[in-house]
Symmetry: C2
Subunit: 163 residues, 2 copies
DNA sequence: TATGCAAATGTTATAATGTTGCAAATTTTC
DNA sequence: GAAAATTTGCAACATTATAACATTTGCATA
């Protein structure tokens, strides 16, 4: 799966997931971190689509799996995955999405479609630079940046015009 | 209060609040919207500092006021204030801060100090333009943009070096 | 292969945040 | 002053997240 995958377009999503899991295994190995079965399963669930998933959605699927998990299990797995850059939390939705730029440390920019719910993660150096400049102008030292753009993806723009 | 107020520096905050309330009254009049006592009180509370306040913090102060309010009262007031551009919600903190650029419709950029908790709202056209370009490159139609930068304000950078 | 430590997980309970739905009161409009 | 629309009160509930502590597991090393 290319880093610039476009969730709005049809693609072989099984391959998408498989690649994400393979990447995750490699990254965890490099980090000397343990991608345990629970963590891997949570990552897999998060990746089941390009729509962000809530912690309790994950929890519900784990329950279907027969895994009698409680909230802390899921939150801990998500924390781990976030720390290793494998998933992102979408603050404006209280939910989580697989990172499509895994490995590189980054604060992505997220385009969130309010029509279909899909999220596209971008790396936008121009945006990062502009934010950095704005902070610097205030002598502010940025550590973590959240950029989430809600709107309509190409397909949903078209659908809306059909209404 | 100037639009470029810097919460990190000492300023006459009473004047800050008074101006915000006066602005709010003017704006609501222009919008034909009713700034009822509850709404005005909530706005005043949100403005008590430049640190964002949670809905339940507001609720607690209302209770001290003797106002026996329930959560929906606060959330409704906050919704109203947001709709008229008088407060902003900080998604990464689940809390609310007074808008220092009231009147102009906008998506601000927020510099959130993890040391002191103060939030500075900026209008950064270069950032807005860069985000807009990035979205356009994906044929994405932006409607609402959240930009929240967590880090250290000038004063807290200095304090940290003293540690 | 024992054993002991650190990391990970399980478990229970609870905190924090946000919403729904409906009835009562208030304000506006005619 | 009566009808309509807006706002508020209120109770219940839904969702999201964390605290605290017990238990198990993986793994290095004696």
């Amino acid at each position: 799966m290319a880093a610039s995958a476009i969730p709005y377009r049809p693609h072989n999503h099984d391959a998408c997931v498989a690649q994400a899991l393979a990447d995750a295994r490699a990254i965890c190995q490099r980090h000397n971190a343990r991608l345990t079965p629970t963590r891997e399963r949570v990552l897999e669930l998060i990746w089941q689509s390009h729509k962000p998933l809530g912690a309790y959605d994950v929890l519900a699927v784990l329950a279907e799996d027969g895994h009698n998990a409680a909230p802390p299990t899921v939150y801990r797995a998500l924390d781990f995955l976030q720390q290793h850059g494998l998933v992102h939390r979408i603050a404006s939705l209280n939910s989580f999405v697989g990172c499509t730029h895994a490995g590189k440390s980054h604060n992505g920019l997220f385009l969130i479609c309010r029509g279909c719910g899909n999220v596209l993660e971008l790396t936008a150096p121009a945006v990062a630079q502009a934010v950095s400049d704005a902070a610097q102008a205030q002598t502010f030292e940025p550590e973590d940046t959240v950029i989430e753009v809600a709107g309509l993806c190409p397909r949903c723009q078209a659908d809306h015009r059909d209404d």
